[in-house]
């Protein structure tokens, strides 16, 4: 094979690796293997889900609250994410006791940029939650991730979760996205 073909093939393999990472991650969350999920996060991971505002289409700068400055649904690192996992394992976290059944559907996965030390990967998601007898919840949105190749495999270094809701339609966010 010629050089350009090798590069294209290498990129295809990285795109496939990124996609598989996201699918594996979703599986861990839906099987409640939260400790294994934490292991996929870089120690310096940033996990951010801003609030979304209704603003004029010609003035989009105000639409999202800002990381590190404003109120958000999540704006935290591995310390707080680990606290959340610890809480889920106490057996007395009543919002998840009995636990939710969740289904993370991940799609539209695109390797946006793999030229640097971290790959920029975008995806869309639908999050379905079933609780107790008949509670059902649905959230939709997209994610902008930074995946970092390491000798142990890919690690999530940064995630921005951009949900399509102004007033959150569900009572709590006890799950990961």
């Amino acid at each position: 094979m010629s050089g350009p073909d090798n590069a294209a093939l290498a990129r295809l393999l990285r795109a496939r690796e990124a996609e598989e990472f996201l699918y594996r991650e979703a599986g861990l969350l839906d099987r409640r293997e939260f400790t294994a999920w934490l292991d996929l996060l870089a120690d310096d991971v940033r996990y951010f889900m801003p609030l979304r505002r209704n603003v004029p289409s010609l003035a989009p700068a105000e639409e999202w609250t800002r990381e590190g400055q404003d109120v958000a649904w999540f704006d935290e690192g591995k310390d707080v994410l680990a606290m959340r996992v610890t809480q889920l394992h106490t057996g007395v976290h009543w919002a998840e006791e009995p636990p939710s059944r969740t289904c993370h559907l991940v799609s539209n996965v695109l390797l946006m940029d793999d030229s640097g030390p971290e790959w920029e990967v975008h995806s869309h998601f639908i999050f379905y939650r079933s609780r107790m007898e008949r509670e059902t919840d649905l959230l939709a949105g997209r994610r902008e991730d930074a995946l970092r190749p390491t000798p142990q495999g890919l690690r999530l270094a940064r995630r921005r979760v951009l949900i399509d809701h102004n007033v959150l339609p569900i009572k709590n966010l006890t799950n990961f996205f």
Partner: protein
Amino acid sequence: MDLADLKTRALVDPERGLVSREIFVDPTLYAAELERIFATQWLFVGHVSQVRRPGDFVVSRMGEESVLLVRDVDGELHVFLNSCRHRGMQVCRYDQGNASEFACPYHGWTYDTKGRLGAVPALREGYFSELELAEWGLVEARVAELKGSIWACWDAATPGLEDWLGDARIWIEEFFTVPDVGVGELELIAGVQKWTLPCNWKFGAENFSGDNYHNVSHASVDQLALSPSGKAGRHQYDAIPQKPVLQNIAYAATGHSGRGALYPPGFDFLSAYAAVPELHAYYRRAYAAREQQLGERARMVPHGGTIFPNMSFSNGRTSIALWHPAGPETCEVWRFYFVPEYAPAAVKDHLRRYVIRYQGPSGLTEEDDMENWNLAHRASRGTIARRHPYHMAMGLGHELAAGSEPWIARGGTVMEGVSEQNQRGYYRRWAQLMGVL
């Protein structure tokens, strides 16, 4: 349920501490609440830091209805029903911004920042210049400001905000006072969390009015070092070695209430933030200033409370929740978070991260509260369940006209420790306004 029958039903019995489950689920009662409570009481609508400049606006909410909080071109505050006088369309569909006018996108009626109707298309050829513009401005509520908090009321007969707050006013003044009692103001952190809760709006309001009894709900988060004290526990004050006596204060005339902790003299307030040097230093200075100004009263550390009907405040992790009615079965919660305006940036950042991880639908603590209210609401619906009232009689008959210190009650009654006095006061006021007591 027919409203005429209300008086015959034992909906609220403050003498026995009983509250009927009907009041959480009955649609007729719910409709009456919108009329008799949300259309008559002062409601918190926002904070001055949201509308600093002329033309600044935010959408807010009173009862089920969208309102606009606007600072006009001359700097005066207004609260308008967000609905065109012509055919009802919302005149503003943005959450916030700066505008010189609000133009209805349906037929083009246009209002200025004082709510005055200015331009009307086809004024001459359609209305033959017979439309009295001055009579068709935006519907306007009364508005009042107290230490940066902005309130509105639809009813001209309701007393002014400060009289309406009555003796509970000191709780609001203290809440909106920065920790060092007076330098600067609170500053809203940009972004208001809004979410849907499948329960009646009163569950949250009641809980914040006085429920010091629901710690079992938070058994999971109490095992984590959530607090800026760095110790296990969720409150910043969990690390203070001296144990306080909880104070519940209820104001019978208004239904408002407050909760606080009375510490012994010389308590070590500073350990509450010991894990974070910047916070520790800031609160060391703040507490010294507080003690200098308040003297012995500085030992009383407010924890929060509820201003009737639907505004709850939390001191320490400084935030406000509004429990907006959205049908008998649904509540729309809005949560505002604050930091001291002149605190160092590092302090503001630590406080911001603490309040977000504590409260709201993603907060490790409040997540569990909402599960309780959701399922309690569901259990209020049943035919058999509705025959059995809720029990709110804890401490009934043991209310004190004054606390252990004469300055604690200040117009209310006090109960120390855990008690449901405040909830009884809340529902007594509810029943009075609904005409069922």
